[in-house]
Symmetry: C2
Subunit: 360 residues, 2 copies
DNA sequence: CTAGTTAGTTTGAACGTTCAATACAGCTTT
DNA sequence: AAAGCTGTATTGAACGTTCAAACTAACTAG
């Protein structure tokens, strides 16, 4: 379909003919050069370069069962428009490309739908592995893949269950801990946490960073936290709820930028300019956070992507030891300070006044 | 690699044996059922269902030269974190899946790099087609693909050159026109346009919608427009520049949400609450716009994705007429009104005060 | 001088699919 | 009765690659 009316694409056979060697020798030049004499190798390489020969993946796949294809699922974009996911996907694709792998994407609504997608993909393509995002407690997908003995990594820890598989994750607790400590250092004493509903591993992990920081500084946590949905409106009302308590918080650390922006909007509405009397810090370094001048915690997506690929490679190259211990990689996020975090220099700056540009 | 220590996957051969027919008959049941008697067909279908047989793509591809794979390029995420691109990719993947196609993504920095990626991809996989985004004037990619006679669609018009290829785009002029008319209807009389630097097809197209709307309403445009980069900071200073003129604007229509938010931040800083004395409308329906309560123009990404797939299908199925006229699809965007657009009900509402939730 | 090793190369087969050609039975037409 | 359809089914070949085995020549060891 794709190559209509153009010179036939070169194959091993045609290259071999031109270089006056056999098919297999050409193949060896590419896959096992040490088996070929220098003299021959050079001759073959010249022909390859001249004709622009590239091995056809379909042939390789058919013979070897490897496709050099990894599959990544796309979550249904929510309130945050999939910004983190997109950054991760971009990084992953870029790095996979450098290692000779291509990235196949698929969508799936539920765990079950996703599993049946796996079955299709595995039946049809000989995928070299999967990269999953959005792991959650009771994740059926990882259990299934584990059972089928299929190479995969998750970007996100196996919340709840014991880790039978390799994973890469960002240390949310650490990030929130750093954010909380920053606020404490700025003099805030009643630091609240706006989190997600019970049962979210990610949310609970992030919350724990806040708890630890408060405990370490002998600050209260009681009555200073609310669990709420990941929407602006929910963030606003969670914030409002805490403000009505007898001794309200003076700073908010949030599980996400979306909720943080909700809180911030409420504070602004009440004239409590964030940055002076009140501080807010979010999580995920969304475009909206940058636009609003909201301090936040950024995930190291590029490193996460590389780490995922390392894990996959390990799974593919060395299934030697059957009970190989899975890799577990935890990366540190980075605190990005903008004018919402009590920086004196920017005190009282109105919302969205911050210059863009990320750090500092 | 993927199927270690599990029952051998079923093949045409094994299914044929079990159903007591030949390979080809099984193949026909799937690809040309009208050639098979009902009796036989049912028997074969039963075996297929029971064994979970799925044709292996590598075999099909090798034989037919079709891979059921379409390739999509990922742009390097910029200020906007690739939100529109991600929405489009998700929609495209979802719809491609329904039609039996999978989506392969790749990254590329420049036109030239992208072209050499095409060469790799085409050499290695038998791609069924490409979907390009981010078309621009003097796009080398489309010229190359056209020359090579490779099926592709662009999401974005072929700015500058005549359309030799099929494309799908969103009518930016129409969207900005609607935004401008809305403001005019609200009583604003000096409507400014903050656009991108010269040479951007997308930017100039959007600008033309503003010009037309102003002309139709006998409103001035002279001295009411600035060209600037797609950053918050640039948006702010562009806005500042216009405010300093002898007769400053009373509303801003912007080529992008990023610039609109920049403008808005400046207005807020000067106490010119958008929504009352001043209005601002952006473009792209980013998460930040939703968070800030910024009115904006949303692109119909799902329809765009479907349209792209329709074009590709046409290119693949019917290369009958050699000089087939390319498809050109222009979709209407949707104006999303929030409290930045002079709605009386929300007048004076501080920034970020808007409830989320999209339209209305 | 024979047997054994090594480096370099070739050959046949196989991966799973579909195309093209062929076979055969049961009809209809001449 | 021969010839020609039509509907159904099978067979051999081919797509481009790599694996496994075989081959050759040159050199080494006994």
């Amino acid at each position: 379909m794709v190559r209509s009316g153009r010179p036939a694409r070169p194959t091993l056979e045609s290259v071999a003919r031109e270089a006056a060697v056999s098919r297999q020798t050409v193949s060896n030049v590419l896959n096992a050069p040490h088996l070929v004499s220098d003299e021959t190798r050079r001759r073959v390489e010249a022909v390859i370069a001249r004709t622009g020969y590239r091995p056809v993946k379909a042939g390789q796949t058919l013979r070897t069962g490897r496709s050099y294809l990894i599959a990544v699922g796309l979550q249904t974009p929510a309130e945050d428009r999939g910004e983190v996911e997109h950054g991760f996907l971009h990084a992953l694709t870029e790095r996979a490309q450098l290692r000779g792998f291509r990235t196949l994407v698929y969508t799936a609504g539920s765990d079950d739908a996703e599993i049946s997608t796996y079955e299709s993909l595995l039946g049809e393509y000989d995928l070299d592995g999967f990269v999953l995002t959005g792991t959650h407690t009771g994740d059926k997908r990882t259990a299934w893949l584990d059972d089928q003995n299929i190479p995969f990594v998750t970007f996100g820890r196996p919340w709840g269950s014991a880790a039978r598989h390799s994973w890469v994750d960002v240390d949310g607790a650490c990030g929130v801990h750093a954010a909380s400590r920053h606020l404490i250092g700025r003099g805030y004493r009643r630091i609240a946490f706006l989190g997600w509903p019970e049962g979210s591993g990610v949310g609970d992990d992030r919350r724990s960073g806040w708890e630890a920081a408060c405990r370490e500084a002998d600050l209260p946590t009681n009555g200073l936290t609310v669990r709420t949905d990941n929407t602006l409106a929910a963030g606003r009302s969670a914030c409002a709820q805490l403000l009505e308590s007898p001794s309200p918080p003076d700073a908010f650390v949030c599980v996400s930028d979306v909720i943080a922006l909700g809180a911030w909007s409420l504070l602004t509405a009440r004239g409590l300019a964030p940055g002076s009397s009140m501080a807010v810090i979010g999580f995920d370094d969304s475009a909206a956070a940058a636009a609003a001048g909201l301090s936040t915690v950024a995930q190291p997506l590029a490193e996460a992507a590389s780490a995922c690929l390392d894990c996959l490679r390990k799974l593919q190259d060395g299934p030697t030891a059957d009970a190989d211990a899975p890799d577990m990689v935890l990366l540190e996020p980075r605190l990005i300070l903008r004018d919402s975090a009590g920086d004196a220099s920017l005190t009282g700056a109105p919302l969205l006044l911050a210059l863009p540009g990320l750090p500092r």
